[in-house]
Symmetry: C2
Subunit: 296 residues, 2 copies
């Protein structure tokens, strides 16, 4: 199949590669060159503009940082929109505002183009190994048409509902993920300053009602002194911004997520935007005047 | 062995019964009669005061609502302290302030009595089935002496550290449990008001980084329209009070848990103290002017 992929960051590059491995012809476009050169060597075709990507693709994928990037690639100068042919499907793997995904889908449907919002969860490892969770919103026939392609890049693929529903699910995912990250930070620093070995506490509680992905996967990395991403703090900060904006648009006060956004804002101001999102514990170390003790 | 058990609520009654089933002779005391009558019929011996319980027991267990209750039973008129013989071990299954557990342990050690803080997690079902998680603080020899008794009431039994360490672990457990409950409420109401079926969202996200005990165990109950305890909201409110007080004593700002305490405070003021702690979603229903939609 003739595919396009725009946005070859840590996530996008791996997803584009997995589509190539599944036997598809992929036309790529990216702001910076390194990833382009790498994939061209592996057989991808380079396009100079999003417009050219649209002209040569039956399905176009995006993996871009934020809402304005997605809108610029679609509607900007030399953007996708001018090059789309009727019947094309746009699969947006970016995490952006649900309301923006809905707006994009409505505008493109006038051109006979179907947009699916299909944000992913599972980090760079999931992207590399093709085991991402993919949350999809948009018309079911288009979802079914691209399902074999999604199966090349992810494992748990859910059609959540109409346009924007994938982005809503991703926002919901991040509400819980951020809550777990911040709760882990609070409990580890509370344990330590109360004179209790933090790793013993995790051992005592991780099998009960506190059990979660974050304690299971991220606490061992913190105890190993590893705060490298994974999923970067400034991306979690961006996602919490989307969450609060979605709450504003649809009328939902979100007091806990609002506090969590402020904690990630602090993390950015403290000079830690590129650390893993679990490194929000660094904010608590500063607040409480202590460093997390590593197990002996 | 000659045991004592004081505090026969939903949790304590089941724990006392499991100690009896393990072949021990248990002397009981409780403020209200019904649980006493029930256990006496099953072979327990009744004592009129905590003092009498102490006089006839090698190990005394407590399961009481809060710090003042525990202090009254130990140090009050006709309290345990006057009746303890040197060598007695006190096992406190209540969830109270870590600093209070440490104070109690110090005071009792002057009498040759060893106090272990041993709060539990796992709810009324865990208490009935003897599958509780038990987090223990205090001297290791005393822990090892009572371990066979703890194995009659729980499954995951961890010696976390010195006196108070069990309470610290329980406080840490509740930081994460409350965060999951509140995050679940925020994400379900956000999904719904964004026009997405909440149960579809849970299905899409529960296998990834948002995975947790609360989504696994509690969301199906909410979707079944069931907000009965489980673990009551006013107890979570009490535990969050302990968490914030522990943060105050040991010097740890806890902004997210502070917000969560306010949300459970709202739940109490809205007349829902006896519902399950997952019913904090009722606060968000009120805030957002919507009722959680149950799946068709």
């Amino acid at each position: 199949m003739q595919l396009g992929y725009i946005g070859l960051g840590l996530m996008g590059k791996s997803m584009a590669r997995n589509l190539m491995k599944a036997g598809h012809s992929v036309t790529i476009h990216n702001r910076s060159r390194a990833a382009v050169d790498e994939l061209v060597l592996e057989g991808a075709r380079e396009a100079g503009t999003p417009f050219e990507v649209a002209q040569s693709s039956e399905v176009v994928f995006l993996s871009l940082p934020d809402t304005p990037d997605v809108e610029a690639v679609i509607f900007g100068t030399q953007g996708l929109r001018g090059g789309f042919r009727p019947g094309t499907i746009l699969v947006d793997n970016s995490t952006i505002q649900p309301a923006a995904s809905r707006r994009i889908a409505t505008l493109l449907s006038a051109d006979g183009v179907t947009a699916l919002d299909a944000p992913v969860s599972g980090g760079d490892i999931g992207a590399r190994e093709g085991t991402l969770a993919i949350m999809v919103g948009g018309p079911r026939p288009a979802f079914e048409a691209v399902l074999p392609l999604l199966q090349a890049i992810g494992k748990t693929i859910t059609h959540v509902g109409e346009s924007g529903a994938g982005q809503v699910a991703k926002a919901c995912n991040q509400i819980m993920a951020a809550a777990q990250m911040v709760a882990m930070a609070e409990l580890l620093i509370l344990a330590q300053k109360s004179g209790v070995e933090p790793s013993r506490v995790v051992e005592a509680i991780r099998g009960g009602a506190a059990q979660c992905w974050t304690l299971d996967v991220k606490s061992p990395r913190l105890f190993a002194g590893n705060r490298q991403p994974g999923f970067k703090a400034h991306m979690m900060h961006k996602d919490l911004g989307i969450i609060l904006e979605t709450g504003r648009v649809y009328g939902v006060p979100l007091p806990m997520s609002a506090v969590n956004l402020q904690l990630y804002e602090a993390m950015l101001q403290m000079g830690m935007p590129g650390l893993d999102n679990s490194a929000v514990i660094g904010v608590y170390e500063a607040l409480a005047g202590v460093q997390l003790a590593l197990p002996a």
